[in-house]
């Protein structure tokens, strides 16, 4: 799975740079700074950043934003579900933080080809940290015809320190959307 030591191609780094740009634009408007781009045929076909604060919908992660753009675009150009699936199966996602369990599950539903991520997500990660949804799942099927997830290739640690820096900046200035803490800030102010 994650092999940060592996040499990344300049292409990988360039796309991750674009994902980081998305994360920075989120930070500038007080959203959790996570961003992504989806690449098909060597070109960026969609990009997204976290919009949970603005929407008050905690599921509006960067990946979901980018996915929605693609689904709308492709349907407007008249693609059928199987054609859309075909396109997703050739797409690569570059995201600054490991997809959470929700997004990783969504990516298996769509059948994306591959994911490159920045830092690991020790709390919610769905590509190895908490669950490993990217691995194809042998579904315990009794009917014998239930489809299962094909999984996707997942590589972490791409420009992780840049991604962490943005998140740390965000959490140090305080998440305006988080609930009021019980204990006084001073007690936790160390880091």
């Amino acid at each position: 799975m994650a092999s940060p030591g592996e040499e990344c191609s300049t292409e990988t780094l360039a796309f991750m740079e674009l994902a980081l740009e998305q994360a920075k634009s989120a930070l500038s408007i007080l959203e959790v700074p996570i961003g992504c781009v989806i690449v098909g045929d060597g070109k960026v076909v969609a990009s997204g950043r976290n919009r949970t604060t603005e929407t008050r919908n905690a599921t509006r992660h960067a990946e979901m934003e980018a996915i929605d753009i693609l689904l709308e675009q492709w349907q407007k150009s008249g693609l059928s579900p199987s054609e859309v699936a075909e396109r997703f199966s050739k797409c690569i996602l570059y995201v600054t933080c490991e997809p959470c369990i929700m997004c990783a599950a969504a990516l298996t539903i769509l059948g994306i080809k591959e994911v490159y991520y920045g830092c690991a997500n020790d709390k919610f990660g769905g590509c190895g940290s908490i669950l490993s949804l990217h691995l194809s799942s042998p579904v315990p099927c009794n009917s014998g015809e239930v489809q299962s997830s094909k999984g996707f290739k997942s590589t972490g640690g791409i420009m992780a320190s840049e991604a962490i820096f943005l998140l740390r900046t965000f959490y140090e200035q305080g998440n305006p959307n988080a609930p009021k803490p019980h204990r006084p800030l001073a007690a936790q102010a160390g880091h």
């Binding site: 369990i101 990783a104 769509l110 020790d122 709390k123 315990p140 609930p179």
Partner: protein, 434 residues
Amino acid sequence: MNNHLGSWQIVHIPDKQPVPPGQQPTVSMFASVIDPKHANTIVRRLNQVAPLEGFRHVKRVQKKFLEGGKTQLSVLICLACDNDTQLDNVPSHVQELINLYQLSTSIVKVCKYAPMSKAEWEEQCKLWPTSYHPPTYNIDGITGFNEEDMQLVFKFMQFAVDLATSGKNRVVNAAVIVDPSVKQLIASACDQICAWKDKTSIDYSCFLKPESITSDSDSYRVAAHETVLSNGLSNELRQPYTGVSCLYPWRWTEKQQYSESSCYWHPLRHAAIVAIESSAARDRRLLPDLGNIRIKSFELDPMKASPTSSPAKRQRTICDNVDNDESAGNQIFHMVDNESADNQIFHMALARPYLCTGYDIYLVWEPCPMCAMALVHQRIRRIFYAFPNPNAGALGSVHRLQGEKSLNHHYAVFRIVMPEEVLHRCKTDVAKTV
């Protein structure tokens, strides 16, 4: 009204995978047969020098009935180390006791954890007697279900089942988000993976009081021959229900019948996701953005573990009283004029619900990992579902998110056990009334 109570059941789905009763983890302990004359003295002494800490469910003394009407008493002496059948490591006080009464020790297996069910308890007692206290559903400060709670829970679940079966052709999953403190519906939705008219057509008209939900007692009358299962947790449905997104999340590519041009389709618009979206939209509408108020608050860096963070609970305030009012936001703003702005802003911030904190969701099927994690993100308090999801269920069937300790929020999960016939009820009712 009592019809359904006899047949529907609320079952807590625990954080840990229940093991088959015969495969519970055990530990080794030293035990010895004792002379009944000395039983009191030995037990009292053992409780002083070798209390069974961490094994409160284990009984110290075992009584066996032998042939000829005789009884035999055995006593647990102390924990034995793994692979250590000798008494070398036994504390000296215990050793003295063994010598004094000339006990001949042997190793016995004892169940490590307290039994969670009667079946587990019966299995445990085959090894060594334990005590069993039936659960009271007092989970993480969530109180048990009294008669009134159960009526309400069943009513909302019935509403979800009605939604799920309201389609012309097939059964889908349905989600109903409820604020239990005021017994109010917050949002409801069905699976929308094949027909999603327009982004603007999200249904906001969900402000039913529970009273307005169909509640004639007949609607709860269900087949009397419910198969009660040994663990109450698994039963196979006779039909495949291929329209249920969470059951077949990977099947969307096979669908060809989406061709209506005015409709979008979307493989990720499962009922729970749509209901969350609807609830967030309601939130934005009732409580408009308060501008650039920065509430100094704190959430730990997601990169680090957070042993100290405790989930802040939703503050319940004036908003509940004005929830039904379209101009709730405006009312709050009016009040700002009367008080010092800073103080008022602070109150407004408290008044605003944080996502779905404190809310419950009712789902007809156990959600897939995408939906289950979405409900973690949105801070749902309790999940009730009716039918398990053997293909992709994330609340016990395949994964068990409520037991993933690293997540920053945990909900309590309950299954409402009901017969499959409820899924066919609506169609026949419609047929009757037409």
